[in-house]
Structures are given as C-alpha cells and as structure tokens.
C-alpha cells in the first residue's frame, strides 16, 4: 500500500472530509483552508453515506489495473449535506443509474498490488430504492 493511500485511509474507508469551525462549510476531500471563509480552523467530519446522482457516465475504457471491471459506471453524487463526490457505481443495473437516483455508499476493494501485494479498500456507491 502506498504511503499516501495509508495516510488517507480514513478518507477512503469512512468518507472523512472536513468542516470549517468558523462558518460550518463542509467539504470533501478535506481542505486545510476553508474555501468559503479562508479560515484555518478545520475539523475532520464523516460525510453522509447517502445522496443522489447528479451526473453519470458508463466507461468502456479504463485506467491500468481496472480492465477486469469494464464496463464501469462512474457517478457524480450530491451527498445529503450538499457536498459533491465522484465514485464508481456498483451493484446497480444500467436502467437504474439515472439523475436523481438515490444512492448509498458501500465498502469495496478498489485495487490491489498484484496477487502478492496489498489490497486497497474504499468507498463506492450503489443505487437504492430503484
């Protein structure tokens, strides 16, 4: 596992973003300076694990290491707190993946360093109440 992924594991495992202690602006990923009020008083905050699809695409091309998952659905999701997040969409039929569809996060394997290397876990989303 790369050092950078290990440092950010709470981001990927629990969708930890941040909240500005001055103006309550929430963001994902975490910012060290509030994009809204420029405050440096920032705390970690777990983002909601539910939201709605605001855009999506079905990809037949992949980055190296993801060929086995093609075709791959990727969604732009507005979480229940208004924060946007990009995520792979899994366990969802093509006809159910549409704008305004309700989604929830799931914990999945993202990739692995071959058969003997480490496994990368993280969030993906799936459509619910289709």
């Amino acid at each position: 596992m790369s050092v950078s992924y290990w440092r950010l594991r709470d981001r990927y495992y629990r969708i930890i973003g941040s909240i500005c202690d001055s103006c309550n602006y929430e963001s994902f990923p975490k910012f060290n300076t509030c994009p809204k009020c420029k405050s440096h008083d920032i705390s970690d905050k777990e983002m909601p694990h539910t939201g709605k699809i605001i855009s999506y695409t079905l990809s037949y091309e992949s980055m190296p290491g993801f060929e086995h998952e093609l075709p791959m659905s990727i969604g732009l999701i507005k979480l229940d707190n208004g924060v946007n997040i990009v995520s792979q969409l899994v366990d969802s039929e093509a006809e159910d993946i549409k704008i305004n569809a309700n989604v929830k996060s799931v914990f999945r394997k993202i990739n692995a360093d071959g058969n003997s290397g480490q496994i990368y876990y993280g969030y993906k989303f799936k459509v619910i109440n289709a």
Binding site: Y13, R14, V90, D91, E93, R108
Partner: protein, 348 residues
C-alpha cells in the same frame, strides 16, 4: 469430564445484528450443466461475491448494519470468524476496525472452519460478562471456496453476519442465556497452507462429523439448562446443504417449522462461517419478545457451539436504517458459470 455449559457471571445481550449477502446468484444447474451435463445441486442457487468484494468488505457491511442498530460506540473487541481471509498474514479485523472508526479495541481473526463466527460470539460473551469490556462485535464471514467440479462447489457461497454483544440491556434484542461447545479431532474437511481449495472425506461429512458434533452440543446445552426442544420458538442449525439441518432438527426433536425462518441454504448456499449466524439474523427478523432461539453451529475439524437466546423488547425497534435480510436476499441478479469463474479468480 464434561465441560460445563458456559454462562457469564453478569448478563450479556445482543443489542444489534446485521447480515450481508452479495447481490449475485449462481444457479447450481449451471454448475451441473458444465460438470455433469444436466441436473442441479442440493440448493437452487448460491450467493457469489462480486469482483470487488471479499471477506473484509462483507464484514464491514454487516458490522456497520449491526452497529447502526445497537447505537453503541464503546466497542472493546472486534473478532472476525472466517476461513477466507484476504491476507494469510495481516488481520481482517484491523481493517474492519479502521472502517468503523474504532481504535481502542481488541482485534483478531478467528478460524474454525464454519464455526469461527459463533466462537467469536462465545469469546466476546466471556469478555463482556467478566467486565473486561462493555461491548464487542462478533462476525462470521466467508467467501467460501469449492474446487471446480467438486460437490462443494454447488454450495460454497459468500455472506456475512455481525452481532454487537454488550452489558447494556437498554436496547437488548436478545439475552444470551447460556452456550456450550463440543469438539473432537475429526478430519472431515480441511485446507492445507498455500492450497486454494479445501478437501473433504465424503463419508466423514455426515455421521462422524456434522451429526455427532451438533447433537452432542445441543444435548449438552439442553440438559444443563433444563430445557427441551418445545421450549424454543425457533432453532437455527449450520447448513452445509438443505437436508442436514432438517434431519438433525428431527433427530433432536425440533420441528421443520422451528427451523424454517433461518433455513437459507436452498437460496444462498453455505457461506461457511456465516451460515448459522446468518440464519440467526433471518430468525431475529421474524422473532418477537419472549421467543427463545437455539443457535447451533458446526465447524469441520470438528466442533459445534450451541446457544440459548431469549428475545427481548429491543427486537421491536431495529432503527430507521435497518433493511430486513429478506429484502437484501431478494435484491439479486443471476450470473452464469463463466462470469462466476472470472469474479472469483478460479481459472488460473
């Protein structure tokens, strides 16, 4: 000398439970078509983990459901019972702990073939009952392996179940009244280090292994807590196939009606360490306060754990986020054998 039935010195409760079954189903007729030309397995379909699912991901999903129902955060133990760890050396339980945001906790992986999950429940019962910790999560999880063409391939499936055990009676779903365990050295099923698939001695599977151990642990439990099969509303037995739990229930004096709510093998197969724990999840979903439930696991090698559980009022409030196991199981999609081999990395 008979090991006495285990009762904690202070009461231990189950305050949350959660099950997880992957969406994909492989019809066993597809397996039979490839290897035998026609027919099917003893179960109609089996659940199959997707390409991005493993024991760790299913453990996290079921644990999140259980923790959400319990509403507890003071978790002092996370024990994952499984025989399909993604890493031979590196705990699954620490990844689960990180995903739950729990750090000041014991964490370990347990292995005892198909009874590792109930073993985790017994150890946490002891830790909670002795006052060493206030709450813990016990999990039974597996992406079960079956060699292509072997009889096990029809039933070996994937699923997870998690239970939050606690000394807090406030949201008790069920009280753990007592449990027992019975083991012998019996080589009915095993997998050597570095081997991908288990082997089994077919004629050992039934009488010397499953029936002897299950009957021994149940009889010992009932004898020592002075209860009889009719004192239980429901019973859950390990389900290596659809027939064994029905047969052992009959031999012990339980009816088919008592085991029906927890009988999942015909539709999801045998998810090894998750088999009887998931049957308990399914039974909890229909249980009412005052119902008594027998839970009995079986693990090859071999052993059996039995529990007497008394359902309490917390069963009536499962929380706003709870999804019944039936809904999870019914949200499924059938795949063919070729897809199955790709998803599970069987063809090398």
């Amino acid at each position: 000398m008979i090991i006495p039935t285990m009762k904690s010195s202070t009461p231990v409760y189950i305050s949350g439970y959660g099950g997880y079954v992957p969406k994909l189903r492989l019809p066993t007729s597809d397996i039979a078509k490839l290897w035998k030309g026609s027919g099917s397995g003893p179960n109609k379909t089996k659940s199959v983990a997707n390409i991005d699912e493993d024991t760790t991901t299913m453990a996290v999903e079921s644990a999140r459901n259980a923790l959400s129902m319990s509403g507890l955060c003071d978790i002092g133990a996370i024990f994952v019972g499984t025989e399909s760890k993604p890493y031979a050396v590196k705990p699954t339980s620490t990844i689960v702990a990180q995903a739950l945001g729990v750090h000041n906790t014991l964490a370990a992986d347990f292995e005892f073939a198909c009874k590792a999950g109930t073993e985790a429940m017994q150890v946490i019962t002891g830790l909670v009952g002795s006052g060493m910790i206030s709450s813990g999560i016990a999990l039974g999880v597996d992406t079960a392996q079956g060699r292509p063409g072997d009889n096990l391939e029809y039933t070996a499936s994937s699923a997870a179940a998690a239970f939050v055990l606690t000394n807090n009676s406030k949201r008790s779903v069920a009280k753990i009244e007592a449990s027992t365990s019975y083991v012998t050295d019996t080589s009915d099923f095993w997998r050597r280090q570095t081997e991908s698939f288990p082997r089994h001695l077919s004629r050992f599977t039934g009488e010397p292994a499953y029936f002897h151990h299950v009957e021994s642990s149940v009889k010992q439990l009932l004898s020592e807590i002075n209860l009889k099969p009719s004192d239980f509303k429901y019973a859950v037995f390990h389900q290596p196939n659809p027939k064994f739990p029905i047969q052992v229930a009959k031999r012990l004096g339980f009816t088919t009606e008592q085991i029906q709510p927890g009988l999942l093998n015909p539709i999801i197969g045998n998810p090894y360490s998750a088999s009887s724990p998931l049957g308990l999840v399914s039974t909890f979903d229909v249980a009412k306060p005052g119902d008594r439930i027998l839970l009995t696991s079986f693990g090859s090698g071999a052993g059996s754990d039995s529990f007497s559980l008394l359902v309490e009022d917390g069963i009536l409030d499962k929380g706003p986020n709870y999804t019944p196991l039936t809904d999870i199981i019914n949200n499924n999609k059938e795949i063919d054998y070729a897809t199955y081999t790709k998803l599970r990395g069987i063809l090398k």
